[in-house]
Symmetry: C2
């Protein structure tokens, strides 16, 4: 399973990420560069705060939260998971049908394109206990968390005005998190983001050219880390970030929210394993994960090419002006080398 070690230092390569349509520069030399900053943020900020003065996501503090959408199990005080509205939402569910300027706010001029900020922004509280993090849960419990994401995405998919839902998790301040209690979020948008359309266009292009799905083909010996019955985990061939991992369903299927109960538990086990490995090998790094699913009204031309997956990104470095400007990423670690490190199995 593990890749063979390179005999000599690797030369830099520019690889094409055909899913996100971006170039990634792999350059091991970059990892040796010095820094004269006294503090580096990723080291300076602990990911956890075991005793915050008050945490509205903890058991017993439900009244300090925005309204609940559902809990698991339903109708009990002794909940395991809660899906709630975000108290500081990016988009507002009460604005459906409103137009920019309706309520006297500043509109936009000269044909600039703006729509009112209608949409849904929800939080999934993944455990009632502040000290528990997602990978501390069992495979079956993580499966339940994943099913709660699925359940809420299903509800949102039935809303006629919603086109796309982004499910994501922020863990640690450098990954953007403002709350330390284990949670994920989802934002439901009335438009398909151009970046999401571009991903699906890019996958269609690969499909049309090669007759193959780029996500199905991502499984290759030297970048494979782990497998389960229904999923496999790889460091992608053109990973933008060091130690980035994708968990991919073996079944070529466009929608995350079609996941069934059995596969959710299988997925939970693999997600747990990967998060534990990243935590162990990289010393509990901040990370994000993003579920890349498909827009709800995907054109029939694109449906056969779509394949959902989850992208897990440890946040080890701040990105800089090169990435912001060019959209290219610089990754000092070749995926084959990252995969080798993440392939080590515990002895016990």
């Amino acid at each position: 399973m593990s890749a063979s070690s390179p005999t000599s230092p690797r030369l830099p390569q520019i690889r094409e990420d055909t899913v996100f349509n971006r170039l990634v520069i792999f350059s091991p030399a970059r990892s040796r560069r010095p820094s004269d900053f006294k503090f580096h943020p990723p080291d300076g900020a602990p990911n956890n705060n075991p005793n915050p003065p008050s945490c509205p996501f903890c058991l017993g503090r439900e009244r300090e939260c925005a309204p609940e959408i559902f809990r698991i199990p339903p109708g009990t005080d002794d909940w395991k998971i809660r899906v709630i509205e975000n108290l500081y939402p990016a988009l507002r569910r009460d604005l459906e049908g409103s137009q920019v300027g309706d309520r006297g706010e500043a509109g936009c001029d000269e044909g600039r394109r703006a729509v009112i900020g209608f949409g849904f922004h929800d939080v999934v509280i993944e455990t009632p206990f502040h000290s528990i993090h997602l990978p501390d849960l069992s495979a079956a419990e993580i499966g339940e968390v994943v099913l709660s994401y699925r359940e809420r995405v299903r509800q949102l998919s039935n809303h006629g005005s919603i086109e796309y839902v982004q499910v994501f998790k922020n863990y640690g301040a450098s990954a953007g998190a403002s709350m330390t209690h284990s949670h994920a979020q989802m934002i439901a948008l009335p438009l398909v983001p151009p970046t999401v359309s571009a991903r699906l266009d890019s996958m269609k292009e690969v499909f049309d050219k090669s007759g193959k799905c780029g996500i199905c083909e991502a499984q290759s010996a030297n970048i494979l880390i782990n497998e389960s019955g229904h999923f496999f985990a790889v460091v992608p061939f053109a990973a933008s970030f060091p130690f980035e991992v994708w968990i991919i369903p073996r079944e070529h299927t466009p929608y995350f929210h079609d996941l069934d109960e059995q596969k959710a538990v299988d997925f939970g086990g693999l997600l747990k394993l990967i998060l534990l490995k990243l935590s162990k090998q990289l010393n509990d790094p901040p990370y994000n994960y993003m579920i890349h699913s498909s827009p709800f009204h995907l054109p029939a031309s694109h449906l056969p090419c779509a394949h959902w997956f989850i992208q897990i990104v440890p946040q080890l470095n701040a990105v800089g002006g090169f990435e912001l400007g060019s959209g290219c990423y610089i990754n000092p670690i070749f995926p084959e080398d990252a995969a080798e490190i993440l392939s080590y199995e515990e002895e016990d």
Copy 2:
């Protein structure tokens, strides 16, 4: 010049950025959300280190640097600006014509796309003195710095295998900087990054539809901050980041490296003013700037639609999983409000 204050709290909007083809959610409610992290990285990391144990970019330490490309003024020990090779380059200038696998390194299989990491990665040392930052220089001196960028881009534009040069600056650890001595960088690529092509395609689409250039049109009263003879500075209508500023040449022209001496000094003055304002209003934030110019071999169809500009982005928050996953940004500050704050003029 300043925009009128909104009378009621603004409702969220989703705006379309037609240059970078991305959606941006403007949501003032987001700025009120709490955080239970004990430390937040942007506050924790000072941007400067006045006395690093040793800085290779300082006057007298030239021998600790990678080879020099040129200095200003030429042939003097008492230099003002040096353009040097990056000692830990992302791309290597000695690899032209090499193929992946040529030197026995691991190649790529199954038709995955990779090319050898040929290219140029240079550093511009903007002052010989460690304690001086770019906006401390005079307009004329900043003009000289900008002309040194231009000079190196011109040299690289004459290299037949180079397609695009990204000029950028990282200031402060949260903006990715590893060195505190004032500097910028540029990376010359043998391929046009897809994100850069997408920007030019997007501008062409606007041009074809409206007959107008989206960059020329960016000048509008409520987002304008400052003007000079040849440039204007705005917070763009669909700014991805709070207090992001673009400085745009009035002349509709595709290439930064066509800038002449007189305009460079004019530009230097406006850049200085904006950097001083950001530093004052936002308490010396980390920031990046990126020069968005055009690929050297831009197709004739796109040439009339292209217009270079510089994007200045204060780094006030870490981005999270939503932005990474969907490519949409959430900005808690409406551009009109940011522009109003940045429009205040000093009395003295």
